[in-house]
């Protein structure tokens, strides 16, 4: 105790008086941003009048969100063990279920809590009463647990089964969203009836029970491949979060994506430098079928948002949707920018190579903007026209970013040392988006 007291005393002595209010200010400022966004969104609707959200749209968005979370969970495991752990612990004569169950329970608890919090926040934003809020929390928690349990059950199945489930859930979600859009167009979109939440809460719990049993039974049969498949992605994701650099995750994702790609015949390229590079870029774009899926899915975002978001915000929504839609088309640009070896091999100037590889994302950005235009009134088209500029600037600045430097210049902004290059690395992609978004809202 004496030692602990000494350590605490030393720790107190080291703290500077500015630390606490700096922390408080950082929390306050960051917390203020979502506050203002939520205020703006809620106030955008007529005060006191809550616009009815069609049930088909709610179901579609929920299924799509679930499909996305399920895909993430299946990619990571969700039950995971390192190769060393498998060799030295799980590979031995131990009961695998008893070894893996504690961590699985922790995962279930975490995802259940996350689902409950998300549902609670959504209910609070929608202005639910306390009883409705509590029931929504139960629904969210139950769905969170169910999602993890289903992913665990699928972890023991073949890749084809997992793929089929993933495609099926995504298709159902897209179908519901399309149905909602159709019903809204014809003016026959029923809103969420009041009995959905009271009935859904026990149903979510009832659904979670068999799924948890299924997952628990699957754990004992998980082999080494199933347990270690997500390690690379998990490690890359952890590194990307720790170093705040999404590019660390991109390479692993690209490797996973193209490990399944089969090419029946190699294509030849036309003579001429620009024509050959453009043809190669076109070929790579065509092979990235996921890019088209993401593009179409993101294009639905402004149409969906048009139902619940004021028209003033729609160009901003389109901008945020265009970022993931255009990003896959910038794979060639990112590769050329990151690899000096490739630039040396391909010859020419760096700028010419980069500009040629900017063509595909530029076309995608323009197509996205044109595709999103019917989702909003004509008086917002001027603001929408800024979307390609913001997205391409964002893509260019992210692609041309040099590797993160942790030993660069340090400046003082008044609250302690700030790494200048590190800060610029983190904001260089966000800054053009924030600027474009601001302009879109001002116009």
């Amino acid at each position: 105790m004496r030692l602990l007291t000494q350590v605490r005393r030393v720790g107190r002595g080291r703290k500077e008086p500015t630390d606490w209010w700096t922390l408080a200010l950082a929390v306050f400022v960051l917390a203020g941003f979502p506050v203002q966004v939520i205020i703006g969104l809620s106030a955008g609707r007529a005060p006191g009048v809550t616009q009815a959200i069609p049930i088909a749209l709610t179901v579609g968005v929920a299924v799509l969100l679930g499909a996305m979370l399920l895909a993430v969970a299946m990619a990571l495991g969700p039950v995971r063990g390192s190769a060393a752990e498998y060799t030295w612990v799980l590979g031995g004569p131990v009961d695998r279920r008893s070894e893996l169950t504690p961590r699985w329970v922790r995962t279930l608890t975490g995802t259940g809590a996350l689902g409950a919090v998300l549902a609670g926040v959504a209910a609070a934003v929608a202005g639910a009463d306390p009883v409705g809020l509590a029931l929504t929390v139960v629904v969210g928690g139950g769905l969170g647990v169910t999602l993890t349990a289903v992913a665990t059950g699928l972890q023991g199945r073949t890749a084809q089964v997992r793929r089929a489930v993933q495609v099926g859930t995504t298709g159902v979600g897209v179908a519901f969203v399309g149905l909602a859009a159709l019903l809204i167009r014809v003016g026959q979109a029923p809103s969420i009836p009041g009995w959905v939440v009271p009935v859904g809460a026990p149903l979510a719990v009832l659904l979670a029970v068999p799924m948890v049993i299924w997952g628990w039974r699957t754990i004992a049969a998980l082999d080494r491949v199933a347990l270690t498949a997500g390690n690379a992605l998990f490690a890359a994701g952890g590194a990307a979060v720790l170093f705040m650099d999404p590019a660390l995750l991109g390479d692993v994702l690209a490797q996973r994506r193209f490990s399944h790609l089969l090419i029946d015949r190699s294509r030849s390229f036309p003579a001429g430098r620009r024509r050959a590079l453009l043809a190669a870029e076109w070929l790579r774009t065509m092979r990235n079928r996921r890019a088209a899926g993401v593009f179409i899915g993101a294009l639905l975002v402004p149409y969906t948002a048009a139902i619940v978001v004021p028209a003033r915000w729609l160009p901003a929504v389109a901008l945020l949707g265009a970022v993931p839609a255009v990003s896959p088309f910038g794979a060639g640009l990112r590769k050329v920018c990151q690899s000096a070896t490739l630039r040396r091999m391909l010859g020419g100037t760096d700028s010419s190579l980069k500009l040629i590889h900017l063509a595909a994302p530029a076309v995608a950005a323009v197509l996205f903007t044109l595709g999103a235009a019917p989702a909003m009134p004509a008086d917002r088209w001027i603001a929408l026209a800024l979307t390609p500029i913001g997205v391409l600037t964002n893509l260019w600045l992210r692609a041309t970013a040099k590797p993160m430097e942790f030993d660069g210049l340090v400046a003082d902004l008044g609250f302690g040392p700030a790494p200048v290059q590190l800060s610029w690395f983190l904001v260089r992609g966000i800054a053009p988006l924030a600027l474009t978004l601001s302009l879109q809202l001002v116009i």
């Binding site: 203002q36 205020i39 030849s268 790579r284 000096a340 003082d412 302690g416």
Partner: protein
Amino acid sequence: MPGTYNTYRKLRKVIGILGMSLPVLLVVLAPLLKSWHEGVPIHWELERSISAYYYTKAGGLFVGTLFAIGVLLLSYNYRVLDTILTTIACGLAITVALCPAPEFSGQVNLLGILHYLGASGLFFTFGFMALLRFTKSDISPPDKNWENRKRLYQACGAVIFAMLRGRFRAVGGKAADRFGIGAAHPEQQLAVLGGGCHGGGFRVVVAGQRRLLFLRAVVRRCGLRRSVPVTRPRRTPCDAASRSGVGRRRSEAELTGSATPASVTRAPSRGGRAHQTRCPHFRGLTAGAPAVVFRRWSATPDGRSGRIGLGGVGTAASDGGPGVAEQPLLRVSDLRRRFGEHEVLHGLSFEVRPGQAIAVVGPNGSGKSTLLQCVMGIQRPDSGTVTLRGTPLVESDPAVRAEIAAVDDSVDFFPDLSAAEHLGLLAAVHDVPDADAVVRALLDEVGLTDQRNQLPGTLSSGQRRRLALASGFVRPRSLLLLDEPEQRLDGQGIDWLIGRLLDEKAVGGAVLFASHHAGLIDAVADERLEPAGPSS
């Protein structure tokens, strides 16, 4: 100036407290003022709109707080991260300020004005505090060095300003003198190091041992070459005398560049293709199929490279013969490279002529790859020059890229193009006629015909190495740079490589390669170059 210092400190506290409290007050008071402005008394259950307003505000605050705390918990050093966050927050605050709440359209936008004032308060607070922190010394209590430090800051500013005006080389070295630093401390240099001190901020250190790290970083970031005379400390006559003794490594001949270091030795060359072995694995040679040989780039009368077209397919030199040209293609003079305290390259000088092959040999860590990377332009030497046809070699120059084909461990591929498509793309962008036939022949030659449709990620390491080597041979070139090309090649592959490099020499191509393989070196190299390895 202790009085000035204390005033700054007090002012900074006042501004800090105001800067923190004012936005808080504004945001807290905003709904109250809004209600007052609209004439609606504040009551929790009075109206659904007011209730929903607070409801969403509380929910947003909860989510935002969770988010902020989560981000902070992820940080191993919150002192660094909080500043990053506040920096980002400034941008977000300005963004919010530019996005006034839309519910007041057509009315007095009181909330928007308050947001704007709050964000402005934050912005100017940060700006003022940065300014104050920059113009005062926060490293130590005020003392007699205060004025001196202030001059140092001003010197830094002058250097940056001069650099921005493109006159760094001319003015940067004089900046310290202009502000009295150089005159007061002739043996000392200005070094600006970032962070790590109490209170943070630019740490200014006057120390003779440290170089102008800040200037180096700025110059490096701007893509300029470092100005050696500015960064190198002055040498006194005493220093020169001490360096002329036993510890001296370079000879006078090395200094003048008139001779190569003593480690450069002639190696017995095995010309022609007598050494070449037919192998079943590399079918292009086994079946007697002709190897693809291109004519090289040749010098135009003005000394610069010019393209004369590509030859067809042949098995022997069509021009130039096995002889070595007189004019050097590549010239390396007094090349030095240090890593910390270890100098890896000690003033290397050598030349590579068309039709000549030089092998860089030596044990691991002796600087072979470093030398090749300096020649490729991947690394910048600390001193010395590398010229190609008499012109300083700049890696990003398209003419240089057209002349040099380099294959080292850093060879990269597009993950979504097959092996044949990679070679086809390289052939197309370098305007190789009949690219498809050339690619087919080369794939057959390196034994990758069956893997022609495979992506690089699905090839084995040996197959990737063959593809990398093929990428160097599929395009026209004057100089071939290879870093341990024998890696992951089996015996038949080595034989193929020997034949290929002999062909390269025979048609007038120059080769500079690092290798540990005695057979490859004996068969191909005309000279051996051995960097001396690191020394402290």
